[in-house]
């Protein structure tokens, strides 16, 4: 078991290293020059090259990559004279657009995205799995069809439209959140209610998108599982229908859903771009979008990419472990 985990960790680490290198290579060959971008209106080639040096772009990509990796362990120092400063380890570089160490920036964006992801995850699991179970239970009745249509319509609208409609026609229309409070970060530790209300609608709009997949998946898994022999056995013992569903059917039916749920959740942790954009949440998605489209802020792009990949890789690992925990057949004594 320990061996398995450490092997997986090692291979995950390799994946992350490959991804980080890839990002450096890719951005090294982009036709955009962050140095030029930072140069301003009056721009001479010398200023550009000065900028390039300041941004650490005047060396080959592998040197940049190496510096980056090194910084994670020993921190990094920038500038000279009065303008000198240090990003302590773990340093993921310094953003000259936001004038802060990337680790600080990530630390402020991460709680937002994590809140968004966790809440949306819980909501869509409840919505998706709940509807799925209900559809399976009452399959081929109007309840089944209605839930199917509801979810399909909810999801066939592109994210930006459904999110926007929720924002404009529900949130703003009924003044559920004051517009100036929108996107404001409230820590769940100090202001749990504000935290909840500020995230509720983003959760809902994200959950709507994901719920459909889960409804369908749950429905078919529940139906499939309920035709298993062991469900018949439970009935033969005199187990009530309720318990048959919740205790005997749902666990095996949900185990495979866990796999995709874990990965979806990890994907969300990398940032739900559109939702964050629409609801002005200062999370990782918006951070990356801005960095990638507007600023070409390499340290941020690299770091968020690696972070997002880390989430996926770790989620993969956790899903495997959790699956084994749920399904004793995979567990080995």
């Amino acid at each position: 078991m320990l061996k398995f985990v450490s092997r997986r960790l090692l291979s995950s680490l390799i994946i992350l290293i490959v991804i980080s290198a890839t990002v450096f290579i890719i951005f090294n060959y982009l036709p955009f020059d962050p140095a030029r971008l930072a140069c301003g209106k009056h721009c001479t080639p010398e200023i550009v090259s000065g900028n390039r040096h300041r941004l650490g772009l005047d060396v080959s990509w592998w040197m940049q990559w190496w510096e980056y990796l090194k910084g994670i362990f020993v921190g990094r120092t920038y500038g000279q004279g009065a303008a000198m400063f240090t990003c302590p380890a773990p340093a993921f570089g310094y953003s000259f657009n936001q004038h802060a160490c990337v680790s600080t920036i990530l630390a402020s964006a991460l709680p937002v995205t994590v809140s968004l992801a966790i809440g949306a995850f819980i909501m869509w699991m409840f919505l998706g799995v709940g509807l799925g179970v209900i559809s399976a239970r009452f399959r081929n009745t109007w309840i089944d069809r209605a839930s199917n249509i509801f979810v399909l319509v909810g999801t066939s609208l592109p994210t930006f439209i459904s999110g926007l409609l929720i924002l404009l026609f529900i949130v703003l229309k009924f003044n559920l959140i004051s517009p100036l409070d929108l996107g404001q970060w409230h820590s769940p530790l100090t202001a749990p209610w504000e935290w909840f209300t500020s995230f509720f609608w983003p959760w809902l709009s994200l959950a709507l998108i994901y719920a459909a997949t889960y409804t369908r998946f749950t429905r078919s898994n529940v139906i499939e599982t309920s035709s298993e022999d062991f469900i018949r056995t439970a009935r033969a013992k005199g187990v009530s229908e309720r318990k048959v569903l919740w205790k005997h059917t749902l666990r095996p039916a949900l185990a495979p859903i866990l796999t995709i749920a874990g990965l979806d959740f990890a994907g969300l942790l990398g940032g739900a771009i559109i939702t964050e954009q629409i609801f002005q949440l200062p999370g990782l998605g918006r951070l990356t979008l801005q960095a990638a489209l507007q600023d070409y802020d390499l340290p941020i792009i690299v770091s968020t990419t690696i972070l997002a990949a880390t989430f996926v890789v770790v989620a993969n690992l956790i899903v495997d472990l959790a699956y084994a925990f749920l399904d004793p057949r995979i567990r080995v004594k």
């Binding site: 298993e228 022999d229 062991f230 018949r232 056995t233 439970a234 009935r235 033969a236 013992k237 005199g238 187990v239 009530s240 005997h248 666990r251 095996p252 749920l326 399904d327 004793p328 057949r329 004594k333």
Partner: protein, 338 residues
């Protein structure tokens, strides 16, 4: 029929509406059973054995199954017709008064719960007690069905057991509440002969101990010969013959039973002859044709005048004492072709 009958099944019909038509899985099934007695239901795959036993247990999805007829349990508290009883009433009987073990021990146990938990659940459903009482009871049952080291193995999961042991767990689970009726649906088909022998011995011992009525469903006439008191032969959803076990083997009264017995090679007889066969295939259960379902394969249908076999459905009739058959042939004709 005897008044001591514990279970009476009368004119049981089970059919499934499907895309292709109505599947008449069981029609006019009639039999009865006393406590301590073993009735075997034999017949080929698809002849309606499982469907009818599930109907007795009330395990069909009523929304998608048409069931008619009567299933009467004569309990000490009075007799009860199950098909018209409420779902709750029947559920209370399941697992306590009547229990069932299934054909495939591999898939009939829940893979996610330990065997102990599964047996305990069956007990706790009908008895007062907490989890540890249930577990204690599970250990007792495991011991009873001959699982070595029950105290340790009670926490194991089904996949950690061999096929024979799983079937024993199934039996333990079915017997945990001392049911009066046990339906065993092909309990040994998935097992090897040596293990089959173990399981059958176990079942017999249990029957003696609890004075159970057992319905044994199988298609193995060898098992029937060993185990049953009476036999019900099914073909295409109907019971074509019912007889005490000896009568059935030595004086079969239905051409299908006859063919069946002849087509079985026997270990105890060295014969290098060709096996006798029943030509043709069992019929589809959708829109069964008029007449006897066995008629297309019956070598003796010519003996019956007026194409009666292909036009009229024979009724279940007395062939001899306690011996019923569903055939147009006369008593003498049967005796002569046997």
């Amino acid at each position: 029929m005897s008044a001591h009958n514990y279970l009476e099944v009368k004119k049981l019909n089970v059919s499934f509406p499907t895309e292709d038509g109505l599947v008449a899985a069981t029609s006019d099934l009639t039999f009865s059973l006393a406590r301590g007695e073993t009735l075997a239901i034999v017949g080929e795959s698809g002849s309606g054995k499982s469907v009818s036993s599930l109907a007795i247990m009330g395990l069909h999805n009523r929304a998608r199954t048409n069931i008619s007829g009567e299933v009467i349990l004569n309990l000490p508290t009075g007799s009860l017709e199950l098909l018209s009883s409420s779902e709750d009433t029947v559920r209370d009987l399941r697992g306590k008064e009547m229990a069932m073990i299934f054909q495939d021990p591999m898939s009939s146990l829940h893979p996610y719960f330990s065997v102990g938990a599964q047996i305990a659940e069956a007990w706790l459903l009908h008895n007062k007690g907490n989890k540890s009482d249930g577990l204690k009871r599970a250990i007792e049952m495991l011991e009873l069905v001959g699982i070595p080291l029950p105290v340790e193995r009670v926490h194991d999961f089904p996949h950690q057991f061999s096929g024979g042991m799983r079937q024993r767990v199934m039996i333990a689970m079915a017997l945990v509440n001392n049911p009066s009726l046990l339906i065993a649906d092909e309990p040994t088909t998935a097992l090897d002969v040596t293990v089959q022998a173990q399981i059958l011995k176990l079942l017999r011992d249990m029957q003696k101990e609890f004075n159970m009525a057992i319905i044994l469903i199988t298609h193995d006439l060898g098992v029937v010969a060993e185990f049953a008191d009476r036999v019900n032969v099914m073909y295409a959803g109907k019971n074509v013959e019912e007889a005490p076990v000896r009568d059935l083997y030595y004086k079969p009264a239905h051409p299908y039973t006859l063919g069946l017995l002849r087509s079985i090679p026997r270990v105890d007889q060295i014969d290098t002859h060709r096996l006798q066969t029943i030509p043709g295939q069992p019929p589809s259960l959708i829109n069964l044709p008029m007449g006897c379902a066995f008629a297309p394969r019956c070598p003796y249908k010519e003996l019956v005048p007026n194409n009666l076999c292909t036009t009229k459905n024979p009724e279940l009739s007395n062939f001899a004492d306690n011996h019923l058959t569903r055939c147009h042939l006369t008593h003498d004709q049967i005796e002569s072709v046997r």
